[in-house]
Subunit: 110 residues, 2 copies
DNA sequence: AATATTCATCGTATATTTGCGATGAACAAT
DNA sequence: ATTGTTCATCGCAAATATACGATGAATATT
């Protein structure tokens, strides 16, 4: 990718918000999160009935949501119970809210 | 990518939210949006002073934000003035708000 | 012991994203 | 006419993402 040796760093908040947004950037993962926030918790199998995807693909999406910190997986072999990671969920809520809650009163040019 | 011939379709809202989130999924684009919402409008050149990226790369990020409907580019050769697309911005605000504004009172399992 | 269920991970194929430099288009100023 | 400014787009390279089937691990059931 020809990445130049960057000295630059984005702020923590910016990185965090981009990370959350990226994890939300696929319809399947939106579905998963909506499902989790409606059903409190669920197993991978439950999601297979909701999503038109192979089990391995869903597992991959779950991994990405977990890596982003949006969900938690409670292992209970051979099942895994997933639920929203409330701590980070609130942070995400806050970051998105801040991004959108800007004061546009001064805008008059477009 | 071995995509199977899907009959399935995600809901409009889900697709729309994922599209917005995807566009927000890079720190450079977060910076751009924050800059725009602070400065009302700006030119590409202004962003080059804020971002550690080549002009062509910034232009590419702007294109993605434009394609997602989050910003507008008012051509004024040889300059282009960018600003937030307020109409879609409000929709995004609404969609994210709805996603996060879930009632978790019933949750007691994790 | 054999089988079934649940799930993560690996290997593979393809698409998309990120980034750069180079080029070119559009106009303004010389 | 030439030059400078501003910006999009092209061509390229490398990294990431999306998706599948296959395999394997863990456990429960038979």
């Amino acid at each position: 990718m020809k990445r130049s040796a960057q000295v630059f760093e984005y702020s923590k908040d910016t990185e965090q918000l981009a990370k959350f947004a990226k994890a939300l950037g696929h319809p399947a993962r939106i579905i998963i999160l909506k499902h989790l926030s409606n059903q409190s918790c669920c197993f991978t199998g439950d999601l297979l009935e909701v999503l038109p995807l192979a089990q391995s693909t869903v597992s991959q999406h779950l991994k990405e949501l977990k890596d982003a910190g949006l969900i938690l997986g409670e292992v209970n072999p051979p099942k895994v119970k997933y639920c929203i990671d409330m701590e980070n969920w609130k942070i995400a809520q806050q970051l998105f809210s801040t991004l959108f809650r800007e004061d546009f009163s001064k805008i008059d040019c477009c």
